[in-house]
């Protein structure tokens, strides 16, 4: 027994004596991720969590300009667009190599897109490529010469450039794909500021400085990404010094970090909209005035300030302000006006019919859906509407909402995060996007003028022209109120005070090319 005790004491003292590694070393940045990445093949993944690594290991032909959602040259130095908007010709940067030494050239670019899009491509089986449809309008990719590559589109498609800046458009090394096949996602090779070094499953992904980076080698020696799925554990790890940056901080903990000088809290509104789909085909919301009444009845300011604790802003229309170039600054959110709501309900002859409200338990971009749903229910009941909530788990929820609300519900929570002002309205507000036609217009909104504007915006190749069309669309949609426009989420991050030159981007990607941490 004494020997047992002695052994236990030894074990304990060893555990205590072991040095603590809580502090992270200088010039190495440790990032707290919310999950283990699925793959480091940018064409095979869909999660922002994975994009946060990928955007630092790869480059695309174009990228988002710092602090905006506008594209600027990256691997392509310049490009031209044919007048009819169907031929894009890119001139590639000279002298760029992948981390494995292979040159970046027109053939490499062609390989990337054909791998994703052509089912008979020898490496198509290294997929699946769930977001390949981002480039479904691409007809052919041709290598004109070593550094010139031409994309022919089946039809004009204005979001093409912006999709190229999205992680699905990042360029991978064909040599590495040929060498590793389906395991390329664990042996990635790109042209980015950091080279892949190590992936220890469920513990860390390490990337190290690319000394030959075409845009200037980064200051950091390495970045370590740690997956920590539990938010409380992530916070504890940040507080105990084991992380330099953490993203997606729960609202409850932001104040604690704000009041501590060792940390800095950053916030950045992103291309996100949280809204309620209203069933415009049947039931009370088939009447425009009742849809408007719902917009007046919901107290959005209270929602974002109290329930979301300031981590979101009130949304005015279908397009988030993060798309600065396409956003209509003059659009004012529906004010909170229960009297006006009651008046509209009375005018429209609302008879107290019960409203079925689909609420989800969670899901990507859904923020705090149950608490928000309950508050919205209370607001609507306060103006005399009868609301019945039905709650579903996220995957089940999508299976109910995406095929359309007809015969099931009058109202459903939804949130989208996109990379181009085209995506959301095109997929959710057009008549051609009703669920039976393969779109996401689950509330059956239909306005020929909106259809026309969105089609025209997609064909336009000039950004100013597109912006004009989107602005007009926004004011019509706001007036028609197919949704209750609720919130635009702000991404947040906590960083250690010793981290320099870090800035959150509206794209929600984590760009670490210029970050420094000298101590």
């Amino acid at each position: 027994m004494k020997r047992l005790l002695a052994a236990a004491a030894t074990v304990l003292s060893l555990a205590f004596a072991s040095p603590t590694h809580a502090q992270t070393p200088p010039n190495v940045l440790v990032v707290g991720q919310i999950a283990e990445p699925k793959s480091l093949d940018p064409h095979a993944v869909t999660a922002v969590n994975d994009f946060r690594i990928l955007m630092n290991v790869y480059d695309g032909l174009v990228r988002y300009k710092n602090g905006t959602l506008e594209v600027e040259p990256a691997l392509a130095e310049s490009w031209t667009i044919s007048d009819d908007g169907t031929v894009y010709t890119f001139k590639l940067r000279e002298g760029v190599s992948f981390h494995d030494g292979a040159p970046l050239n027109a053939e490499a670019v062609k390989f990337n897109f054909e791998r994703m899009l052509k089912e008979d491509h020898p490496f198509h089986d290294t997929g699946p490529f769930p977001l390949a449809f981002f480039f479904s309008t691409v007809d052919t990719v041709t290598a004109i010469d070593d550094l010139t590559v031409e994309f022919k589109l089946k039809e004009p498609y204005a979001p093409f450039l912006s999709n190229l800046a999205y992680p699905t458009g990042l360029i991978v090394s064909p040599k590495a794909v040929e060498e590793h096949g389906a395991d390329f996602g664990r042996n990635p090779s790109g042209t980015g500021a950091y080279k892949f070094a190590e992936w220890e499953a469920n513990a860390k992904v390490v990337v190290t400085r690319n000394e030959d980076y075409w845009d200037g080698a980064p200051e950091l020696e390495a970045v370590i990404y740690r997956p920590i799925t539990d938010a409380n554990t992530r916070i504890a790890e940040m507080l105990s010094g084991g992380l330099d940056i953490m993203v997606e901080v729960p609202p409850d903990s932001l104040q604690q970090f704000r009041s501590d000088e060792a940390f800095e809290v950053q916030e950045q509104a992103g291309p996100h909209v949280w809204f309620l789909i209203l069933n415009a085909k049947e039931g009370p919301f088939a009447t425009k005035e009742i849809r408007q009444a719902a917009n007046y009845a919901v107290n959005k300011t209270t929602l974002v300030d109290n329930i979301l604790q300031g981590t979101a802003e009130v949304a005015a229309g279908p397009t988030p302000p993060a798309f600065a170039w396409a956003y209509d600054e003059d659009l004012e959110p529906y004010p909170y006006d229960p009297d006006k709501a009651r008046e509209l309900l009375k005018e429209a002859g609302y008879d107290g019919e019960e409203i079925t409200f689909y609420v989800t338990e969670g899901g990507s971009g859904m923020l705090d859906p149950i608490a928000m749903g309950t508050a919205i229910q209370a607001d609507l009941e306060a103006v005399g509407m009868k609301v019945k909530i039905e709650t579903y788990e996220w995957n089940t929820y999508l299976g109910l909402v995406n095929p359309g609300l007809e015969g099931k519900a009058d109202m459903a929570e939804m949130a989208w995060m996109t990379n181009d002002p085209d995506t959301l309205p095109f997929l959710t507000l057009r008549t051609e996007a009703w669920p039976d036609k393969g779109g996401f217009n689950s509330g059956y909104y239909s306005n020929p003028k909106v259809d026309e504007l969105l089609e025209a915006a997609r064909r336009a190749t000039d950004q100013d022209e597109r912006a004009k069309l989107y602005r007009e669309m926004q004011s019509i949609v706001q007036e028609d109120a197919p949704w209750v426009f609720v919130a635009n989420w702000k991404q947040n991050a906590v960083i250690k005070a010793s981290v320099e030159d870090f800035k959150l981007q509206p794209s929600f990607f984590l760009m670490l090319q210029n970050v420094a941490k000298p101590e």
Binding site: H21, P25, A201, N202, R226, A236, G438
Partner: protein, 314 residues
């Protein structure tokens, strides 16, 4: 004895088969599919159909199951579509992490539980007994995930004696010392409830044995008190306690799910939770198969150990 073990192992095979069928059916019945989970907002019927085809999920359920079984016999558990790596690699890696955690916790709770129980019984009704009983009662009643968070707050965030999460230091770590350092808080948290159960049971068993005639005889013969307690009474009490430790092994494995999540321990519990929510069927299948096999083996081991200890059962 070996015939008995072989029979028990053979009996386990249909159980495991039945289990894989049930898991397969449940996963097929719950709403939502992997393609929808992967595509999220972009899950148009068209995209879902194409992705399901690429993932091989468009085949009839029976065919999918038969393919899985056929591959199983070749030692291939398939490829996880959320992790994009072979299920076998992931499951074995995760399960060894769980075994380290649960094994340590089991050793810890056995040692602490037995010591506390014996002391309590020997000093019945003394203040030592009362203190131990109180501490044990608190230990059994505390929810372990909450205790884990509390320990992180005190020992990792405030005192910084132990790391808050993970299995090895992220930078310059590795080696058994580093592992022990990371293991201490989660293993302790996991051991608390089982320690309480074992301590209370040991106390009762010891008190029971100490009242027996042969103990009185031993004392009357002039055997030293230490020898009476440890050689005579403790050994007899162990026979009652061992099967309970076997059952606790199951609870510890189960409890590891919460603790793994709280401490970000890369074990199989947290893997299964995530695999279910992302509808990663093959990963769920592989994980359940391994965990269930372990249960069968643990139960068998406990039974065998009891037979060895208790001649009456032979």
């Amino acid at each position: 004895m070996s015939a008995y073990i072989a029979k028990r192992l053979l009996a386990a095979i249909p159980v495991l088969f039945g289990l894989t069928i049930i898991v397969f059916l449940i996963m097929a019945m719950i709403p939502g599919d992997p393609a929808t989970a992967i595509l999220g907002s972009y899950a148009t019927p068209e995209n879902v159909e194409k992705l399901n085809r690429d993932l091989g999920l468009d085949k009839p359920l029976l065919q999918q199951y038969l393919i899985w079984i056929a591959n199983l016999f070749q030692g291939d558990l398939g490829r996880s579509y959320t992790l994009n790596r072979p299920v076998l690699d992931e499951v074995l890696e995760r399960f060894s992490a769980t075994l380290i955690l649960a094994g340590t916790a089991l050793v810890l709770c056995s040692i602490l539980g037995l010591i506390a129980g014996v002391i309590s019984a020997v000093r019945q009704f003394s203040w030592v007994d009362k203190t131990i009983t109180l501490v044990v009662l608190i230990g059994i009643s505390i929810p372990s995930f909450w205790l884990g968070l509390l320990l992180i707050l005190v020992f990792a965030v405030n005192l910084r004696w132990f790391p808050a999460s993970g299995m090895y230091a992220i930078y310059g770590g590795g080696g058994p010392l580093d592992l022990l350092h990371h293991l201490f808080l989660p293993a302790l948290t996991l051991a608390v409830v089982a320690t309480g159960v074992i301590a209370r049971l040991t106390r009762t068993a010891m008190l029971e044995v100490l009242r027996q005639d042969y103990i009185r005889t031993a004392r009357a013969k002039g055997v030293t008190e230490n020898r009476v307690i440890y050689r005579h009474a403790f050994k007899a009490a162990l026979v009652t306690v061992i099967p309970v430790i076997g059952i606790q092994a199951g609870f510890v494995l189960g409890g590891a799910v919460y603790i793994e999540t709280v401490f970000q321990w890369p074990g199989i519990g947290s893997m299964l939770v995530k695999a279910i929510s992302t509808r990663d069927l093959l990963l769920v299948q592989g994980g359940v198969l391994v965990v269930a096999s372990a249960y069968v083996l643990f139960n068998l081991a406990a039974d065998v150990l009891q037979t060895v200890l208790d001649p009456r059962l032979r």
